[in-house]
Symmetry: C2
Subunit: 258 residues, 2 copies
Amino acid sequence: MEHLIPIGQFAAMTRLSAKALRLYDENGLLPPARVDPTTGYRYYRPDQVAPGRLIRLLRAADVPLAEIRALLAEPGVARLDAYVRDLEARHAGQARVLRYVRRMFDEEGAGAAMTHEVKAKEVAAQPYAGRSEVVSIARLEPFITESIRDLTARVTPVGPPFAVYHDPINDEADGRIEVGVPTAERQPDGDELPAGLVAYTVVEGAQTDYPEILGAYDAVADWAKRHGHELVGAPREIYLANAAGGEQARMEIAWPIR
Amino acid sequence: MEHLIPIGQFAAMTRLSAKALRLYDENGLLPPARVDPTTGYRYYRPDQVAPGRLIRLLRAADVPLAEIRALLAEPGVARLDAYVRDLEARHAGQARVLRYVRRMFDEEGAGAAMTHEVKAKEVAAQPYAGRSEVVSIARLEPFITESIRDLTARVTPVGPPFAVYHDPINDEADGRIEVGVPTAERQPDGDELPAGLVAYTVVEGAQTDYPEILGAYDAVADWAKRHGHELVGAPREIYLANAAGGEQARMEIAWPIR
DNA sequence: GCTTGACTCTGCCCCAAGGGCAGGCCCCAT
DNA sequence: ATGGGGCCTGCCCTTGGGGCAGAGTCAAGC
């Protein structure tokens, strides 16, 4: 109990503000060693300076308080590394989007090369074996590739695999996605893509990556609207070729219309 | 005035929420083409879809609305590039801090090698020629190097240049810094570092970079406190050697004490 | 023409992580 | 004991919306 430090001095030693320290008290991040029960004055121990400085460093790197609390509770390098990986992924995503916007700005004068040829076609009913799950944007790609691998091993595909997006999936919201491979006969536990009219376009190469792919979806939706159609149901991506074989990735975006 | 689109449809076309669209209206980012004066209903033109989608892309990259407004007002690639440079600098800063924290976590078990030897010494009064300015953290380094170059060209230095930090300078707040080179005689427009006791430590190499340098400041402040001294006035950095000459950077952190 | 269901409006409260201020105690040195 | 500075709580503000309540509106079916 010796050498208790009032909040002002402790703030100077940790370079945190008194206001921030009160907040960290409320949040249980760094509760003072003693709080005078009658006056409410906060007093800190000298050995709380080091955690305080650590919190300040992490806040300087914009680490959320919830993550800091977790790091303090479990002070291994593993959780920190996981956070850093996550952060780097977010940074990379931002950079990709900004590069795309830069190209949009650039090509505005030079005649936008980012157009998509959209057509309509009548498709027959197509039985398939599928798997459906609610996934986050981070789990999206792994889920698709793993599902295709598993399904292809289980049934004999009679066409390229596809994914149906039942909900929008983005940074804020998870959503349901269904991955399927078409089969000749209807499977016992399988479903069927209904017959009907679809608007579609084919994209390849860099156009198949996010955020470029959004342009293709927009083009299909715009085309349908301009031609007096109405979008019905969920859009699907049909994976005609992936980039693994040294070729370019190629996929069809198809959206049922009426 | 043909084909005006109510907010719900426009939201679907741009993948923005109606709530966000109302906010962008208030902020002047994307005001609807028409607002019914009696009902308050918002109606958009089809040619507002493209700007709406652009805003959504930029928001997905976490660009602040104020910056988006500026980008829309001045749609060149220059402003966007400036933003991206700024963003990358921030990302790099976060990564540096997190690498530092990672080393702290790592060395916690293996005996922290991040200690500083602090001593006290009596210094004589030192006249100098100096320049003072309120700078942001981004302008800090350029101001120091430019000031040293200019001052060294103007007077004959009798010792290594230094910087006095009158305020804390960090991401949130600018602060006053003074850069000086010591001179033999007091200059007409010059000032003088007062004689007195200082606590100091010498750091070199990677220790001279942010955020590692914070450890040296903390060590000096802690040492002063533990030895019953009081910090008075502003700390200074004395640039004993910089990294340009193939050598390691080396600097002294000195803080007047009583 | 009327009803109904879907759409839209404004206004309020909420999140993170504090900054800033007001009004009121409290602590310590003289 | 009396200052002056330190500290307390509580309230409003920021960014970029999400969510809800209650009320008003639009369009389609009957």
